[in-house]
């Protein structure tokens, strides 16, 4: 057998993307087959080769390989693969969930003129994403960070003739660029402070006792600023966190993700729910060692995630576009993961990332199936679809229950692990917000998800046409995901498995997770949260005991705030329109009036008199010029001699 390894997992999708985009796109079947094939080959390598090694050798195991990409002076940029527990679980999620979504896309994209281009871009995305997962150093992760951004841009703007789609693509790209601005500065600070960009070497420098006590940082060399050690770590950490905010759509850089739903639904499921947006959480788990020594940094991460989780959930309660509700729900769940990392819970964050990938991908694919059937995204124009789409509805309902954390589904174990953390927070997170907002958010989650379920699948039919169940290539992946959404509790992810999926760069003894053993107290707690939220939705949207309109009016400005997404998008639009564009106009005006108008033309007028004289000798012929030029130089020399 060939000796397959991480390099194959990484580069096969790139080969596939290149082949499809530059040649094979004429044949739809070959394109789709190739794209799907390389993902499953990668999955097989990962599951049958890398996974056994991780399971056998436990948490400290890793395999590392690197080549020099370019070297100038004493700075080397390298490119490598780092396989450890963390990258293995992430690869399994990306390839497994990704592979199922690829299959689903065959049915969903059938008949689209851009079918092959779609699969080419998906392959490009897989390459970019796997590069993040396997990266062994900061510069490499930055490279793939950007590549993931462009794949996402291409796929969001897939229907490029639609103005809203290309606008959403640009918004995603630019918002991420703003995040990467901070990310790059953070990387530079860390790189120069530790003398390496390699994660393991950097972790060794930071983790070795006394890093904080011994080094006073000269940021930007001798010409920069001196920072105290604690100060340095939280500033560098916060700047790096900007990259996470962009990719994982954390407040205030979250604005692109809801708009990204302009892309085809498989893209929303794969990129904007299950994998790419989780890259930020993955990065935090990878470089946890930077945050852990500084309580300020940890506190920033925890509160950022907490606020994003709550904030997005409030918006989700007011939306009517099925994909947007799910998008805000994704934001909210990503907030939970980021918060968990800030509360010293990397294991539980990664666990929630995994279960979330299963049930959120499932929900998106279900939404896609619904949209496919009724040709609208608006849940007000659906209703009573349960009978028409029995398979979709069943799996969607199970996915919803998993998301709401109903025992014994997967979401219960991971989400209640996080809620458990908030009830027993470390000192930097011990405040009333961390203790209560995540629980309130969980109530809101059950509320908006069941609002969606009641309006879409139950009640009176408000749809047009004759919806029917989607093809097996679409529902089969949903069923598989549904099975994983059910069994991803302690059955599949035993304590031993979770302990195995750790980053080699993690400081010892930090971020451990122990399964909460489904005792009566936790189950009751979880069911109570679910009951309040779902019950409210039941009262308002199923039985109509309470008229939602009345509630809306009663809430007044609060409802308007949520409905307008807290006016963040409007604020940014205002900044772009009034600050950025005016500034650009000002510079342009300055260029025209001052630099060109006065300086240039002014000097031109004074030279015009001289020019008029010289014009006599301007015959417009090269040889005359050359002759004059040589003669001039000779004369000048002669004068000086």
């Amino acid at each position: 057998m060939f000796d397959f390894g991480p390099w194959h997992i990484l580069f096969l999708p790139l080969v596939s993307a290149a082949l499809i985009l530059f040649g094979l796109h004429r044949s739809k079947a070959v394109s789709a087959g190739l794209a799907i094939g390389v993902v499953w080959v990668g999955f097989a390598i990962c599951a049958f080769k890398l996974l056994p090694q991780v399971m056998e050798n436990g948490a400290g195991w890793f395999a590392h390989d690197a080549v020099t990409w370019m070297r100038a002076g004493d700075i080397t940029f390298s490119y490598g693969t780092l396989v450890d527990g963390l990258s293995t679980i992430m690869m399994l999620v990306v390839l497994g969930v990704g592979g199922l979504i690829h299959i689903y896309a065959v049915g969903y994209m059938k008949g689209d003129p851009g079918f092959a281009r779609f699969f080419g871009c998906l392959s490009l995305f897989m390459f970019s994403m796997l590069g993040i997962v396997l990266a062994d150093n900061f510069f490499q992760i930055f490279i793939h960070w950007e590549l993931v951004g462009v794949s996402s841009y291409l796929l969001i703007g897939f229907y490029y003739k639609k103005p809203s789609a290309s606008a959403a693509g640009n918004k995603a790209f630019l918002t991420n660029r703003v995040g990467d601005f901070g990310f790059m500065i953070g990387i530079l600070m860390l790189f120069y402070a530790t003398g390496t960009a390699n994660f393991r070497e950097m972790a060794a420098v930071v983790n070795q006792g006394g890093f904080l006590d011994t080094v006073r940082f000269q940021v930007g060399g001798a010409h920069g600023w001196t920072m105290t050690n604690e100060h340095f770590l939280w500033v560098a950490g916060a700047l790096t966190l900007m990259g996470v905010m962009g990719k994982s759509a954390q407040f205030p850089l979250h604005v692109w993700l809801p708009d990204a739903m302009e892309g085809p639904t498989p893209v929303s499921a794969l990129i904007h729910a299950a994998t790419m947006v989780a890259a930020g959480v993955f990065l935090l788990a990878r470089i946890f060692f930077i945050y852990l020594p500084s309580e300020t940094a940890m506190s920033i991460v925890a509160h950022l995630g907490m606020f994003t989780a709550f904030f997005a959930a409030t918006i989700a309660t007011t939306q009517f576009d099925i994909k947007r509700i799910l998008a805000f729900s994704t934001l909210s769940q990503l907030g939970y993961m980021v918060m968990a990392i800030g509360l010293n819970g990397t294991d539980v964050a990664m666990y929630h990332l995994t279960t979330h990938a299963f049930f959120k991908a499932l929900l998106f694919l279900g939404a896609g199936s619904v949209i496919h059937a009724v040709h609208t995204n608006d849940i007000r124009e659906m209703g009573a679809l349960f009978k028409k789409l029995p398979i979709t509805s069943t799996v969607f309902l199970i996915g919803t229950l998993a998301l709401c954390g109903v025992p014994p589904l997967s979401g219960f174990w991971s989400k209640d692990g996080i809620l458990h953390l908030t009830q027993h927070p470390p000192v930097w997170g011990d405040d009333v917000f961390i203790r209560w907002l995540p629980t309130i958010t969980a109530v809101l989650t059950s509320y908006y998800m069941f609002r969606l379920v009641f309006l879409t699948f139950f009640g009176k039919p408000r749809y047009h046409g004759h919806p029917h169940e989607s093809s097996p290539s679409m529902w089969a992946p949903m069923v598989v995901l549904c099975v994983f959404a059910i069994i991803s509790g302690p059955v599949l992810f035993t304590q031993e498995v979770i302990d195995g999926f750790r980053s080699v760069t993690r400081p010892l003894g930090a971020g451990d997770f122990e399964h909460i053993h489904g005792d009566a107290h936790t189950i009751l707690h979880s069911l109570l949260i679910f009951g309040v939220g779902a019950g409210a939705a039941f009262a308002a949207f199923s039985r109509r005991w309470v008229d939602p309109e009345v509630v809306k009016r009663a809430l007044g400005p609060v409802h308007r705030l949520f409905d307008n997404r807290w006016y963040i998008d409007d604020f940014y639009a205002w900044i772009v329109e009034h600050v950025q564009q005016n500034f650009a106009r000002l510079c342009d005006l300055f260029d025209r009036v001052v630099v060109i108008g006065i300086l240039v033309n002014g000097s031109a007028w004074t030279t015009r008199a001289v020019g008029a004289l010289a014009a006599r000798y301007q015959s417009g012929q090269v040889r005359t010029y050359a002759l004059l030029f040589v003669a001039g130089v000779a004369a000048l020399l002669a004068l000086n001699l």
Partner: protein, 503 residues
């Protein structure tokens, strides 16, 4: 055979092509084009040969050609290349070939057009390979003059004003630089006044350089003179208008290669000859280059003419080159030279693509275009890739080089580096806006007759893209090559900083 004459051939081939075209009947356009393309292809092959065969372990100036010219004045015909000039020669030949290929569309007075193009290229090659400052300057001027005529006759938008401004600026810059060069010549750097760059460098490095006071006076002359063509803010205003007015091939040569002469001359002549002067004045450049980056980017954001967008973006990108030069680290300077190469190829691609549809639409205004992707997908995809390269997407040479500049400059100029990183946000903004306005959305039915590049017409675009992607994915060959040229310069300048150069 080739070893001893290769550099002479770089001058001879375009010159002879120009001469041959001069004697050809104006009507035989296809023959003239074929000849130019062939000449370009030969120089391209030679440039690859040169880069591959340059002995990196020996470094220094190689493939030297020396002939006496005016011994009494210390003028000789002396050619030679180091790692930096190898990269620039490769850049020139790539742009030359692509430019000759896209100029197939030139109909009016094609003969004169190709003569000028070839003369221009000969001049540019001359600057990159000259080791004698007299000829260095001669070729520098030789490259500028044809540009004036190319824009003046074949240009578009506001061409009289643009050519006049361009010529005044470049001539003024050249005169200031000449003054500086003559001051160096007469300053007694060597026992006998000489224009021999190598002899001068040897004097500087052996601790017999000019006095610090003198260097501080002369360096700004060379800096301002050369930086005009670079172009450094606020001397940049000739460039966007000049780009916009020039015909495709001229814009390509202009932005792709001509602008690089300025930064090349600073690296080749000003910095090594006047290291103490450089150390004194470069912090000023580090400030001005931020204006290039941020201000240039913001102005680009407000342009409606696509060529002006790219024009201002060029001056923005040149800011990164100047930052890399000013920061004076091995990594940053290496990145600066690499970026000169990458930007040259990228911007040539941009202008050639704009030229392709401008010939059909006769407008470059963003408001008039839109939805072109549907009608001309090949050009649209190439343009999009160009935009991605320009905004610094990994996988293209521009990213690798800008990364080096940024990482290398952080140590010395953290504030400027932060501004430079922010420039990447601005860059993405105006480029994506341009792509969206011109190629996405619904198409104006007016453009239903546009035809896409087919068959052989695609060659220049594919050539430029291939080069960008090749060096973007595998930067190490060119980075190692450039390194050999940058290392001695960095050594000299660091010695100057530490006060180790005598006096």
């Amino acid at each position: 055979m080739l070893e001893t004459n290769v550099l002479t051939l770089f001058l001879a081939i375009p010159s002879l092509a120009a001469l041959a075209i001069f004697f050809m009947p104006a009507a035989s356009k296809s023959l003239i084009r074929t000849l130019s393309v062939t000449a370009a292809a030969v120089t391209f092959a030679m440039a690859i040969w040169l880069c591959v065969n340059y002995d990196q372990s020996a470094a220094g100036f190689q493939y030297k050609v020396v002939a006496a010219w005016v011994p009494s004045m210390g003028i000789q015909f002396k050619l030679g290349v180091d790692g930096i000039s190898c990269a620039m020669v490769l850049l020139t030949s790539v742009v030359y070939l692509a430019g000759a290929l896209v100029s197939r569309a030139v109909e009016s007075r094609a003969k004169d057009f190709y003569i000028l193009l070839n003369v221009l290229v000969a001049g540019v090659f001359g600057v990159f390979v000259s080791l004698d400052l007299f000829f260095f300057y001669f070729f520098y001027e030789l490259a500028v003059v044809p540009m004036y005529l190319l824009i003046g006759y074949w240009g578009s938008t506001n061409r009289e004003y643009a050519t006049m401004k361009l010529t005044l600026y470049l001539t003024a810059g050249a005169v200031v630089a000449l003054l500086g060069l003559l001051m160096v010549y007469y300053s007694g750097l060597t026992s006998e006044p000489t224009f021999d760059l190598e002899a001068m460098l040897a004097a500087v490095n052996s601790g017999h350089g000019l006095s610090i006071e003198r260097q501080r006076v002369i360096f700004p002359l060379l800096l301002v003179g050369f930086a005009t063509i670079a172009p450094m803010w606020p001397l940049h205003t000739w460039s966007p208008g000049g780009h916009a007015a020039a015909p495709s091939a001229a814009s390509m040569m202009h932005a792709g290669v001509l602008m690089k002469l300025g930064s090349f001359a600073i690296i080749r002549v000003a910095m090594p000859l006047l290291p103490e002067g450089a150390v004194t004045w470069l912090p000023m450049v580090a400030v001005l280059c931020c204006f290039n980056i941020i201000y240039g980017g913001l102005v680009a954001l407000n342009q409606r003419d696509m060529k002006f967008v790219i024009g201002y973006s060029s001056s923005s990108h040149m800011g990164y080159v100047l930052l890399g030069i000013a920061a004076l680290t091995q990594t940053s300077l290496n990145g600066a030279v690499f970026l000169m190469f990458a930007h040259g190829v990228m911007t040539a691609l941009a202008f050639s693509l704009i030229g392709f549809f401008y010939e059909q639409t006769h407008t470059r205004m963003l408001g008039d275009l839109g939805g072109l992707m549907k009608q001309i997908p090949f050009v649209g995809i190439c343009f999009m890739m160009m935009a991605m390269a320009s905004l610094g997407l990994p996988g293209f040479a521009n990213f690798a080089s800008e990364l080096m500049v940024i990482v290398g400059s952080w140590e010395r100029y953290p504030v400027q580096t932060i501004l430079a990183i922010f420039g990447l946000v601005i860059g993405a903004t105006y480029l994506l806006r341009t792509v969206r306005a011109a190629f996405q959305g619904e198409m104006n039915p007016k453009w239903e007759k546009l035809y896409d590049a087919k068959g052989f017409d695609r060659a220049p675009y594919l050539l430029l893209l291939t080069v960008l992607i090749f060096f973007g994915v595998c930067p190490w060959p060119i980075v190692d090559l450039i390194s050999t040229g940058v290392a001695p310069l960095v050594q000299t300048l660091h010695a100057a900083e530490a006060g180790l150069l005598g006096h």
